[in-house]
């Protein structure tokens, strides 16, 4: 209508007309993101169920096969991923207090830590390949009990860590976009919803790893001890 009631620039660009106010708009985004994350929980849940079912069916094969994983690399990588969760939380915090340079710095740090994680993961995959622990024609689980069922463990190992790594790769793409947008000043203390929603995704990926680490690396570790 009259030109003098046109809202402030930020409100024009960030508040969609179908929301009553910024708070309601942000709540709608948060709820939508969590509904998506719930579908992700069920997506990974199916793989976790497959793991539990086969582990209770073939405990000996799973115990000796899981001892082939590298405890030190697993724990170090968990540490790296938790660090990236902290930097992501700090990125959201920086956005919420309107510190653009810090926001960009923390997003870049998150990307770098994620890169280190996948680098270590690639090294572990290579190690498995070299030691014939990839299920298939050349599979040979040296010294495994019930070796006939050992490929089940490694199939689940590659399937679960692979799906997790795929989620991280998707995260990298979104992170790069967010870094460029943040550097250009797209996000302000008033509106930084995409940063916060991506934070939820990144922390979710961290949580999946928090469960993968004990299940794939730790259970039955006492059979070989610390090495």
């Amino acid at each position: 209508m009259a030109s003098q009631v046109v809202p402030h620039e930020h409100e024009v660009t960030t508040l969609k007309h179908h929301f009553a106010n910024d708070e309601q708009q942000k709540d709608a985004s948060t709820i939508g993101m969590w509904v998506f994350l719930v579908t992700e929980i069920m997506f990974f849940g199916g793989l976790f169920l497959a793991y539990f079912a086969y582990r209770q069916a073939y405990p000996a094969a799973f115990a000796s096969a899981s001892n082939k994983t590298n405890l030190w690399l697993g724990a170090a990588n968990t540490t790296v991923l938790i660090c990236s969760s902290l930097t992501m939380a700090m990125a959201v915090h920086s956005a919420s207090v309107g510190k653009r340079k810090l926001l960009v710095a923390f997003l870049v740090l998150t990307l770098m830590l994620g890169g280190i994680f996948l680098g270590v993961k690639a090294y572990e995959y290579h190690d498995k390949w070299v030691h014939h622990e990839v299920p298939g024609y050349h599979f040979d689980c040296e010294g495994c009990d019930d070796a006939g069922h050992a490929p089940l463990f490694f199939s689940l190992y590659f399937g679960m860590t692979g799906l997790h790594a795929t989620h991280m790769l998707v995260g990298f793409v979104i992170l790069v976009i967010l870094i460029f947008q943040s550097a250009k000043g797209k996000y302000t203390a008033k509106w930084y919803t995409p940063i916060e929603m991506f934070g939820l995704y990144w922390h979710f990926v961290d949580i999946v790893w928090i469960f993968l680490f004990p299940l794939l690396y730790l259970i039955d570790r006492s059979k070989t001890g610390l090495k």
Partner: protein
């Protein structure tokens, strides 16, 4: 249009939950405390796993994982400061996950408890 723009920036608390906190800013020290706890628990669970506790190994490993995941969900993901609707969606998701895992595993665990004729 003019009525719409006057609503901007006002808090319409009556329409939403009273424990509303979508703009809550979590202090940095909370993040650091959660982070340090997560790191310590990661290495605790790694070393405890090398000690033979029998069946307790699984219990300890999963308990620590659940504790760590809860910290991430509550603080890093702001669910502690979120709306009731967000909390309900999170709990509903976890509830369905528990249904999936426990009903299927209860079947597999108990299937062999009683003899099956002809097997």
């Amino acid at each position: 249009m003019s009525a719409h723009s006057t609503q901007h920036g006002t808090h319409q608390g009556a329409e939403f939950d009273s424990d509303h906190g979508s703009n809550h800013i979590v202090p940095v020290r909370v993040y650091v405390a959660v982070f340090l706890t997560l790191i310590v628990m990661t290495w605790v669970t790694a070393f405890v796993s090398t000690v033979d506790l029998g069946r307790l190994n699984v219990f300890v490993a999963l308990s620590i994982a659940i504790f760590k995941a809860s910290l991430v969900i509550l603080f890093f993901m702001h669910v502690k400061y979120g709306t009731r609707l967000t909390k309900m969606i999170v709990l509903a998701g976890l509830y369905w996950l528990i249904l999936l895992l426990f009903i299927a595993m209860a079947d597999l665990w108990t299937r062999t408890w009683m003899g099956v004729p002809g097997r």
